[in-house]
């Protein structure tokens, strides 16, 4: 009996070792371990063993069953995860189990960074509707009904009086209508221009407007604040200039230029050979704008500014076609991780 047990053990273990598939192993399990299997038979024959020997033989049989079961389980585990644990242990240079990598769109990223800089200077954030009325988009901002200044902003109309805002400046009116001075806000948002789509212009884009109204606000404050912004955003070594310009809602009006950072001011295609890049428009709030929101222009003064986000993002990342920003090709987006 003991001999029989030992030969059965050798036979079963070598069968397990030779097996290559889980089907074969299942077959082996049925042959040896099932109730009617070879080991089961031996258990059945245990009652024929003389009583004094039974405990010893019984233990041997139990050991046999355990050994076969263990070998079978080990082999089965090896088959179902072939080679993996072995390789992982032997090759520590395998890559990790990575996930997808997300990214922030460059327009949002640029807006957020501008927002952070002005937040640091005490500006709050205000927003307003994109579907605007003529009054807030033009009239209250000192655009006379038939003035050619309206041509600076080609407009999408919805009805005669309702339009898609052409700038975020109407939010200035909405803020001042609702709030007493002092006011210190930036106003990010989406704006629309009815222009032919090209590499340089798209039918919509994003702006950040800024407004500061209080007693004693000066053009000098405006220059200083915007210079501080430009130094943080574009670098502390930039050269800059403010030149006179025209916007109906500010006076004096200015445009801020910085040295073209692509050619260091020597003149290139991007700066149209001028050596300067226009980065924002600004000025002192026009008294007519104050009058429209019932602020007293004798007592209060303020400055306002506005910048186009796409233009800034394009300059920053060296993007030469605005349309790629709205295409959302992941080969493009992936570059802004």
């Amino acid at each position: 009996m003991v001999q029989h047990i030992e030969s059965l053990r050798a036979e079963a273990l070598s069968a397990i070792e030779r097996a290559h598939t889980s089907d074969e192993l299942e077959q082996i399990r049925i042959t040896y371990l099932a109730r009617k299997g070879s080991i089961g038979d031996l258990f059945d024959r245990l009652k024929t063993v003389p009583a004094p020997d039974r405990p010893v033989i019984g233990k041997l049989l139990n050991d046999l069953r355990t050994a076969v079961q263990t070998a079978l389980d080990a082999k089965l585990a090896g088959l179902s995860a072939p080679a993996a644990p072995a390789s992982a242990e032997s090759d520590p240079t395998l890559p990790g189990r990575r996930g997808w990598v997300g990214s922030e769109h460059p327009i949002t990223a640029t807006m957020a960074e501008i927002g952070r800089i002005f937040a640091g200077m005490g500006f709050q954030v205000a927003t307003g509707p994109e579907i605007e009325d003529d009054y807030h988009n033009f009239e209250a901002l000192n655009f006379a009904p038939d003035h050619p200044a309206r041509d600076m902003q080609d407009t999408f109309f919805i009805t005669e009086n309702v339009l898609l805002r052409t700038h975020t400046t109407p939010v200035q009116i909405r803020v001042m209508e609702q709030q007493k001075p002092p006011v210190r806000v930036i106003m990010p948002g989406r704006v629309y221009r009815n222009e032919a789509i090209s590499a340089r212009s798209y039918c919509l884009f994003h702006q950040v407007d800024g407004l500061y109204v209080d007693t004693g606000v000066t053009f000098s404050d405006l220059k200083s604040t915007l210079l501080a912004f430009a130094r943080q955003f574009y670098g502390s070594s930039i050269r800059y200039r403010f030149r006179a310009s025209y916007f109906p809602f500010t006076e004096p009006s200015a445009e801020m230029d910085i040295t073209c950072f692509l050619c260091s001011g020597r003149g290139c295609r991007v700066c149209k050979q001028t050596g300067w890049l226009e980065i924002l428009g600004c000025g002192m709030v026009h008294p007519n704008v104050f009058r429209a929101v019932k602020y007293d222009p004798e007592r209060l003064s303020g400055y306002a500014f506005g910048m186009g986000i796409e233009r800034i993002a394009m300059l920053r990342y060296g993007i030469d076609d605005i349309r790629i920003l709205y295409e959302n090709d992941i080969r493009f987006l992936r570059q802004f991780r």
């Binding site: 992982a88 189990r97 996930g99 990598v101 009815n194 053009f219 006179a244 008294p287 709205y326 080969r331």
Partner: protein
């Protein structure tokens, strides 16, 4: 606006370099967009005299010439058939750029070099008119009159020694659309004196009134109408100086009469119109409003239908010009014209603008009238034009001027306070400095002391050519502009008012980094879309009245179509595994608002859209690849919700009735609808040519913001251990997980803390039509360690409840 430096020099002496002048003008608001030195086009070209010609030893058609180039003689090989000794010709020297290569089909530029042509050296080229862009003649070299000296630069011969500035004039400065206007700013900027003498007019014969009557029936549209008459002119080409002046500023000469009106336009900024007197029926001019529907042919040969608000210049019978915009074909100056009526008028700007817009017709005249011409300049412009016509076309100027000017527009008086100037600018200008600026601008400042507190102020008389100066702030801008914005000092410190409230953090700035961290890429898409797409939403949507294209003719009601376009684009470019998100607005309009809708009828809502499609994970060496499904996206949302304190989210399946999604789920937070999650309808995907499953969730940012749990107090950590038990239920397949969880909690097990599903199984072992859900249950009590018996009781009541209500059994 092109401004010629030579022309400016007529008004003042400019010693500054063109570059420095351009910089100063730019800083003062007259932005110089480009500087063109006209002569530069002809650098390296000069006049030469052909001394001798010899046949080329090795080529029949070539000639070897010796050419006197002023300072030296050159040997030049020439291929032109018409070259001969004694000619005055144009020589291009090595290094010069020939504008047009006449041997290349495109006529592209090329650089001249010293060359050997069939073994004979050539030190330059004798040029044809075509090569220099001076004409179409390719047949031979250009031969010039003999009176020019050898060595004369070609630019001198062509009188092209001029510098032209392209100035971008802002709409508030109609005065700067002229040479005198720019000259005035130059004078003010540099403190120079302007030379500007009125024209002397030699009048002869009968008074103008005996030839012409003018009646203005529309004094609102035409506040001033002035006219002169010149008889017996000879229409012909303009003299060289006049034609050159116009060419330099980009205007093609037509004939001497039209050229003079254009010259005066560019010079003074005042648009004049010349009529052929004999074409004016009834020898009369009537200014009136157009009769709506009236037809009129403008001098560009187009028939135009007039609108009621338009101001027309008419003769005794019919219209002869659209006031301030364009003249008519019938009365234009022709070769047969002998008597000329010159119109110098001031039209009301909005009228001209509306007319110009209505026709989509913007002319040199309309651009100036709509911005505001100078009502005070009609007579001086007419005088200058009449006198110039006489000098270039002869004729007699009839005595006197017709001037219908019922309500005189007087120069405005505007006062600026020194204190206010410095208060707004943050400067410390003295009254002398301010006074000087106003004097230099011609504003005739009168210093006044109103009170000791306010201090000095200046009462200015604003010339009528500056319609932009209306109030004090406009004068303050002039002080800043002329002094230079760089004179305004910078500060290191700017006062900050401390606000009482800190605004809440925008939900977007919290959600965005979460999604990015979970591998989503942010996209930004167009909010305008095709009407056909908007119509899918089934609700009334916002239409754009004047769209660029049909593809952008309405405002989106959902972010899904824009997102699908992005998915399509990327799949088309080989990237099918996508996780994307966008924050964007959707737009709506109140039902039935129609064409009379006001702004408050429109709604805007901020939304978040997320999408997953393609493989759930990137490839990894031991990870089984599988496709994303709706539970991947749901899981991402649940993770975000947990992070931003949105509790108690429910995803309620519904049989979708909307066109965009199928197998949708409504997403609710505390019973409030915040959006939907679903797989995009196959029909829709097919329209985009997308063949793989796309799962989207579109949620309202406003609804999410409102549903957030507020900040809570800290909860003490459990002092007693947590006991975990697993249980697996076998149940009918149609029973849903949500129902099981609800029943487990309804069992009244007071110590149950959480229920998590950890296995789902279907198979023969558990029977046909059945499934097994395995749950991990956690129990704990706040005040004692749970005993074995307590847990058994809880487990038993859970199992009892579930078996009774859902008829499920426990899998052993």
């Amino acid at each position: 606006m092109k401004i010629s430096l030579n022309w400016l020099n007529k008004y003042l002496t400019i010693d500054e370099s063109p570059e420095s002048l351009a910089e100063r003008l730019t800083l003062a608001g007259l932005e110089v967009e480009s500087i063109e030195k006209l002569a530069a086009r002809f650098n390296g070209f000069l006049l030469g005299k052909v001394i001798s010609t010899d046949k080329h030893p090795n080529a029949d058609r070539l000639t070897v010439c010796r050419v006197d180039c002023g300072t030296e003689e050159r040997q030049i090989v020439c291929g032109a058939p018409n070259v001969a000794a004694g000619q005055t010709v144009i020589v291009g020297l090595p290094g010069a750029v020939v504008p047009h290569d006449q041997h290349s089909p495109e006529g592209i530029p090329f650089v001249l070099r010293e060359v050997k042509i069939r073994n004979v050296e050539s030190f330059g080229m004798i040029c044809s008119a075509f090569e220099l862009g001076l004409g179409d003649d390719k047949g031979g070299i250009m031969i010039l009159p003999d009176r020019y000296r050898a060595g004369t630069p070609l630019a001198d011969y062509l009188r092209m020694n001029d510098t032209v500035f392209e100035i971008g004039v802002t709409p508030n400065r109609p005065d700067a659309l002229s040479h005198i206007g720019v000259a005035r700013d130059v004078a003010a900027l540099y403190g120079k004196r302007l030379r500007n003498r009125p024209a002397a007019v030699r009048e002869t014969g009968a008074p103008i009134g005996s030839y012409l009557k003018v009646r203005v029936d529309d004094p609102e549209g035409c506040p001033r109408y002035s006219a002169r008459l010149i008889r017996n002119v000879r229409v012909g080409p303009s003299p060289e100086w006049l034609a050159d002046a116009l060419l330099h500023v980009g205007i093609r000469p037509v004939n001497n009469i039209v050229d003079v009106t254009n010259y005066i336009l560019m010079d003074t900024g005042h648009p004049l119109h010349a009529f052929d007197y004999r074409m004016l029926k009834g020898s009369e001019i009537v200014v009136r409003r157009a009769v709506p529907g009236e037809k009129f042919i403008t001098l560009d040969h187009r028939e135009r239908t007039l609108g009621g608000g338009m101001v027309m210049i008419c003769d005794g019978e019919k219209p002869v010009a659209i006031a301030g915009v364009m003249g008519g074909l019938d009365s234009e100056i022709s070769d047969q014209t002998t008597d000329v009526v010159l119109e110098g008028a001031y039209f009301n700007p909005p009228f001209i603008r509306r007319t110009s817009k209505a026709f989509g017709l913007s002319t040199d005249a309309s651009q100036r009238f709509e911005r505001g011409a100078d009502p005070g300049a009609t007579l001086s412009a007419l005088d200058a034009a009449a006198s110039l016509i006489q000098s270039v076309a002869g004729g007699e100027i009839a005595r006197g001027t017709i001037d219908v000017y019922t309500k005189k527009i007087k120069p405005k008086k505007v006062t600026a306070r020194l204190q206010k100037i410095n208060d707004i600018l943050g400067t410390t200008f003295s009254d002398k400095q301010v006074f000087r600026v106003f004097v230099n601008l011609g504003f005739q400042p009168v210093p006044m002391t109103t009170s000791s507190r306010i201090g000095r102020s200046f009462r200015c008389t604003i010339p009528t050519y500056r319609p932009d100066i209306l109030e004090e702030i406009d004068l303050i801008e002039e002080v800043a502009r002329i002094s230079g914005y760089d004179r305004v000092p910078q500060k290191e410190i700017s006062a900050i008012r401390l606000h009482e409230t800190v605004p809440p953090v925008d939900l977007r700035t919290e959600v965005s980094p979460l999604l990015i961290g979970r591998g989503f890429m942010e996209i930004v898409t167009n909010s305008m879309q095709d009407i056909a797409v908007s119509a899918l939403g089934g609700r009334e949507f916002v239409k754009i009245a004047n769209p660029i294209t049909k593809e952008m003719s309405s405002m989106r009601q959902s972010l899904i179509p824009g997102l699908l376009e992005v998915v399509r684009h990327n799949i088309f470019h080989g990237a099918g595994d996508l996780r994307l998100f966008e924050f964007g607005k959707v737009y709506g309009v109140a039902e039935g608002a129609g064409e009379n809708a006001v702004r408050s009828n429109y709604r805007e809502e901020s939304r978040l859209i997320t999408v997953v499609t393609g493989m759930a994970d990137p490839v990894a060496w031991d990870r089984k690849q599988r496709k994303s499904d709706i539970f991947d996206l749901r899981g991402e949302l649940e993770t975000v919700f947990a992070k931003i304190s949105l509790d108690n989210s429910k995803f309620i399946p519904y049989s979708s009735t909307d066109a965009l999604t199928q197998t949708g789920m409504r997403v609710e937070i505390h019973g409030t609808y915040i959006g939907l999650l679903g797989s995009v309808h196959k029909k829709i995907l097919a329209q985009y040519g997308i063949e793989q499953e796309v799962y989207v969730a579109e949620l309202s940012m406003d609804a999410m913001s409102r549903s957030r749990r507020g900040r809570e107090k800290f909860r003490p950590l459990a002092k007693f251990p947590v006991v975990v038990r697993d249980v697996a239920f076998i149940m009918d397949r149609q029973i849903e997980h949500q129902a099981v969880v609800e029943e487990i909690f309804r069992s009244g097990a007071a110590y149950l803390r959480s229920v998590d599903l950890f296995d789902v199984f279907q198979g023969e072992q558990i029977g046909e039509g059945k499934k097994s859900y395995a749950y991990k249950l956690e129990f704990s009590a706040d005040d004692h360690t749970l005993t074995q018996e307590e847990i058994e009781r809880q487990m038993n009541s859970i199992i009892r409840r579930c078996t009774e209500t859902l008829h499920l059994s426990v899998r052993q």
